[in-house]
């Protein structure tokens, strides 16, 4: 008799087990996620979207990094006793939504929500597939955080994150760069040529022969002080040998003839072509994220450093473009074939915009200055940003991880790499580095703490 009923019992147990297991298999999410990983995973996603959205540009990418970094900080700042919102300090931003004092929040859920919504808003032009990827990350992180969060708190946090993202996005729309990807190359742009003026490149990165975003320099900076920076100085045009101007270009010419393997690798590594990568600004955001993962700082520190770097890079590009179009200077590929060697060609192709000052230098210096404000300058780091990329066939260079002994070394190599690439002179880099540091200090000097 027992034997007769045992299978029925087993069958029931099995069904219960299967149902139980299937329920448990619905939730493959871990029970927790380190705080710094939430910020880092959103930085990863920001970089993924930057890299995988067509018609990307270094200018537009830097702008988004500024807002995404700021949104990280504003999402968690009210949960920290020592820090305060930047509303009222940022250019034309009087206020941002405040959390309700009677409510409790999970600040990481706020961050998770605001990052997702803002990224989809800023990158309105990204593919539906990419938008699903953003939703998927939001959903995954939310599922983990929800496990240790009261339902009501989770719901209030989502509402606040939504409100915050909407407010930042609304503010962003008036900065001059909103949907800037639609006007990368203004067909109506015209500048009368003059001695030493920029000419569209023949060895070019872009098929457009109009320069990129000629009005980007008019955009609103994050820091009001950065709007008011004075013009740097530029060496006067001269073609005579021994002149300072000529020497700038002969130095580029001679360097190209004697590039070492290391210098070639640096030139390729930092090229950060926006058509294929997350652009120069994204590269520094990536390094910031590597330092966050390595040092595992608190949530507020992680978010703050992403905000500082993002906004420094964004302001650096605005100022850089302001000055590029003010001076409208030629690249070595214009001067050298005309006055030194007609057959000369730079190691790396020209980007579609004027030379002075170097965008790579200014933004790398700005980012490094912001980073050094949080991490020690002598922090050693390994940069794996382009590991796994197919080698550069034209120049036969592999993409291998690079090591640095200090943060400033990263900035210096970023700037030098453009000199090795033959697309910038030393003065482009020098002024870029100097101005980048000034721009970042104006971001660092916000009253971040109460």
């Amino acid at each position: 008799m027992k034997n007769k009923y045992f299978p029925v019992f087993l069958k029931k147990i099995s069904i219960i087990l299967i149902i139980g297991l299937s329920f448990s298999s619905c939730d493959n999410y871990p029970n927790e996620i380190p705080n710094h990983e939430v910020t880092a995973q959103w930085a990863d996603m920001t970089l993924f979207i930057t890299k995988n959205t067509p018609a990307n540009s270094p200018t537009f990418a830097s702008r988004c990094l500024g807002y995404m970094g700021l949104a990280q900080y504003e999402s968690v700042v009210h949960g920290d006793l020592n820090h305060q919102s930047l509303a009222g300090q940022l250019n034309q931003l009087e206020s941002l939504p405040l959390p309700q004092s009677e409510y409790s929040y999970n600040w990481l859920i706020v961050l998770n929500r605001s990052q997702s919504l803002l990224l989809k808003s800023l990158y309105l032009q990204t593919s539906d597939e990419n938008k699903l990827k953003i939703d998927s990350l939001e959903n995954r992180i939310y599922k983990i955080l929800k496990k240790s969060t009261d339902r009501k708190i989770a719901s209030q946090s989502i509402a606040f994150g939504t409100e915050l993202a909407k407010a930042i996005f609304e503010w962003s729309k008036s900065d001059g760069g909103h949907r800037g990807y639609l006007k990368n190359f203004d067909q109506e742009f015209r500048r009368e040529p003059f001695d030493g003026s920029w000419k569209p490149p023949l060895f070019a990165q872009s098929f457009s022969h109009k320069p990129l975003h000629p009005n980007w320099g008019e955009n609103r900076t994050f820091s009001p002080k950065n709007t008011l920076l004075e013009l740097p100085t530029y060496i006067t045009y001269q073609t005579s040998k021994e002149s300072d101007y000529y020497n700038q270009f002969i130095e580029v010419y001679q360097k190209e003839k004697n590039l070492t393997k290391e210098e070639k690798e640096a030139a390729i590594w930092w090229s950060d072509d926006p058509d294929e990568t997350f652009s120069p600004g994204g590269h520094l955001y990536y390094i910031t994220n590597s330092l966050i993962r390595k040092n595992k700082p608190s949530t507020i520190t992680s978010a703050k450093i992403l905000a500082m770097v993002g906004m420094s890079v964004a302001d650096a590009f605005i100022k850089c473009w302001k000055w590029k179009y003010h001076f409208f200077t030629e690249r070595p590929n214009t001067f050298i074939p005309e006055f030194i060697d007609q057959k000369w060609e730079s190691f790396w192709p020209d980007p579609p915009f004027p030379s002075f000052p170097s965008g790579h230098a200014i933004q790398a210096s700005a980012a490094a200055t912001a980073l050094i404000n949080t991490f020690e300058n002598n922090t050693e780091l390994i940069d794996s940003a382009h590991v796994g990329r197919e080698r550069d066939h034209v120049r036969n260079i592999e993409f291998k991880a690079r090591s640095y002994k200090s943060i400033w070394e990263v900035a210096k190599e970023t700037a030098d790499s453009r000199f090795y690439g033959g697309i910038h002179t030393r003065q482009d880099n020098k002024v870029g580095m100097e101005q980048g540091a000034i721009i970042a200090k104006n971001i660092i000097n916000f009253n971040w703490k109460k």
């Binding site: 032009q125 990204t126 639609l182 022969h209 060609e345 066939h393």
Partner: protein, 560 residues
């Protein structure tokens, strides 16, 4: 009196020797044309065709924002634009780019394929449009058969067209280059996402001609899956195995996708990427090209036009690689090149080279065209001496025989400069007045092959001379289609010892002891075999099966 006549004679001889070797007869020829760009640098081209079968070569020139022209050769060195009487008005709606000619439906009349980038009526946010097939009706008119040929649905940004019977069925197939991504079914909705995607690289079209009635896009079937900013391909038999391979020219090869060399694996329905092995994966701004066996070793070589320095790819058949010999051969001059045409313009028994140059509109720095005279295997730039030093914004160029006088003349399309520009920039016709040396012209008539025998090889032997020429399928040069007339300069030779035609597929026609200074006509002996439709092989078993079930059913009913 005699002294005066003598002096006059001497002066005439002097003028002949010292004067221009080509004469610019644009004004007196009745050609009034320039190409107007839509935005920036793209277009235009010329196709040479005898559209009315009167034995004189006519021209079709694309106009971009201007009107295209069908120029009927009036047999006296002048032309008449007959575009409208030929009922080609439908092209006027489009911003045209390139053109090629072939008898697509094998009715004995030359048809046209024209590429476009957008329509003229309204400025589109994303410029795209369908391409056009214009079928010659044999009565001086054409009919736009794009719909029935099945190409109307796709809106593309198309460039160069090459004609070649890659599957050896006798119908002219096509490779059409695309620069930016296309839209099958047209652009229905324009969002920010579609706008940012519009500037991406594109796939080209490998069009298989299905019985002269429609084109089927078969690139996937034939294992062609690359993308690129392409100015199209060139059908050519680079490996001498009697089928047509494909060279694809891509702009921004150093950044986006390089040039591709695709080996036709006929009879397998497959092309194989062999560019890296042959070192033909050029990573340059490849704009166009020209084909010739420049060192007479039996294997074809290729001139690829580029920004700054062109490439002269000489084939090494022992190592199975190509090497750039531009510097060694003397053609490495700084410029921006588009069209290129090989021909023995001066009939001295070696092959010269014309190169059409022009800035990237709207940049407007004048740069002159090149004429490289072949002097003992070295190329010397002699555009001034030969009267070809034009500073127009050059693009496509083509060679043809204007007056059936045995030498090859030249037409070069120029763009209207967007900005102020010193020299005039118009399409120019140059009559070849060199009158040196002997020549032979060969006109092939394909039967098993396409009517013009695209891709056929003609080899001429005359004492120490060996010339090896491929019949042009189009898009050698830039967006253009040269004459399909084979032309050989022979110097002082009066007799050709032998002439060999290698028809696509490998059939050979041989001829001996041919007198020079004439045009000969050679017809393919192998007959065209119309392939039976595959449908019949499906219909037979299906019908048999149907019949079986019908009988079985009947029997069952009978039993009931």
């Amino acid at each position: 009196m005699y002294r005066r006549i003598f002096l006059l004679l001497c002066f005439s001889i002097f003028v002949k020797v010292q004067g221009q070797q080509f004469t610019d007869i644009t004004n007196r020829s009745g050609i009034d044309h320039y190409f107007e760009v839509y935005e920036g640098m793209f277009g235009g081209g010329i196709a040479v065709l005898d559209y009315n079968n009167d034995g004189f070569e006519d021209l079709y020139i694309t106009g971009g924002m201007q009107e295209d022209q069908l120029l009927e050769n009036l047999q006296n060195g002048t032309f008449k634009n007959v575009l409208k009487t030929a009922r080609l008005e439908s092209v006027l709606r489009f911003v045209t780019q390139g053109v090629a000619a072939a008898d697509f439906n094998r009715d004995g009349w030359m048809d046209l394929f024209v590429t476009t980038i957008t329509t003229k009526s309204q400025k589109r946010k994303i410029p795209r449009a369908q391409n056009l097939i214009l079928i010659n009706q044999g009565d001086g008119t054409f009919k736009n058969n794009s719909k029935s040929f099945g190409i109307q649905r796709i809106e593309s940004f198309s460039t160069g067209i090459s004609v070649g019977d890659f599957n050896l069925d006798g119908y002219p197939d096509l490779y059409v280059g695309n620069y930016f991504t296309d839209y099958d079914g047209g652009l229905k909705e324009i969002s920010d996402a579609t706008i940012v995607n519009a500037g991406k690289t594109a796939k080209g079209y490998l069009y298989e001609n299905k019985g002269g009635k429609r084109f089927k896009e078969v690139s996937e079937k034939y294992n062609i899956d690359h993308r690129g900013f392409s100015f199209g391909g060139i059908f050519t038999d680079f490996d001498n195995d009697n089928d047509l391979d494909l060279i694809v020219n891509n702009d921004f090869g150093y950044k986006a996708k390089p040039n591709y060399l695709l080996e036709n694996l006929y009879p397998k329905k497959e092309f194989q990427y062999v560019g890296e092995n042959y070192e033909m994966d050029l990573r340059i701004n490849a704009m166009g090209g020209a084909t010739a066996d420049i060192n007479a070793d039996g294997f074809l070589d290729y001139f690829i036009s580029n920004i700054r320095y062109n490439r002269f790819m000489i084939q090494d058949p022992e190592k199975n690689i190509f090497k750039d010999q531009a510097e060694a051969l003397g053609t490495q001059l700084f410029t921006i090149s588009w069209g290129a045409n090989f021909n023995d313009f001066d009939h001295d028994g070696d092959i010269d080279l014309f190169v059409s140059n022009g800035d990237l509109n709207p940049n407007c720095v004048p740069m002159y065209n090149f004429f490289f005279e072949n002097v003992n295997g070295q190329f010397k730039e002699e555009s001034t001496k030969f009267g070809l030093k034009d500073y127009g914004v050059g693009r496509g160029s083509a060679i043809f025989d204007l007056e059936n006088d045995g030498d090859m003349d030249l037409i070069v399309v120029s763009q209207k400069p967007i900005r102020e520009y010193g020299p005039p920039s118009i399409t120019r016709l140059y009559r070849n007045d060199i009158e040196e040396g002997n020549y032979l012209q060969v006109k092939l008539k394909g039967n098993a092959s396409t009517l013009s025998a695209h891709g056929a090889r003609i080899q001429v032997f005359s004492d120490s001379l060996f010339i090896n020429q491929e019949i042009d399928g189009g898009n050698t040069s830039h967006l253009s289609h040269n004459s399909t007339l084979a032309h050989f300069g022979l110097g002082k030779r009066k007799i050709i010892d032998s002439l060999k035609v290698i028809w696509p597929g490998g059939e050979i026609t041989k001829m001996n002891q041919i007198k020079t200074n004439q045009k000969i006509f050679v017809e393919e002996t192998q007959e065209f075999k119309k392939r039976r439709s595959n449908l019949i092989w499906w219909l037979i078993p299906i019908s048999a099966l149907g019949f079986y079930f019908f009988i079985r059913n009947k029997k069952k009913q009978h039993k009931i």
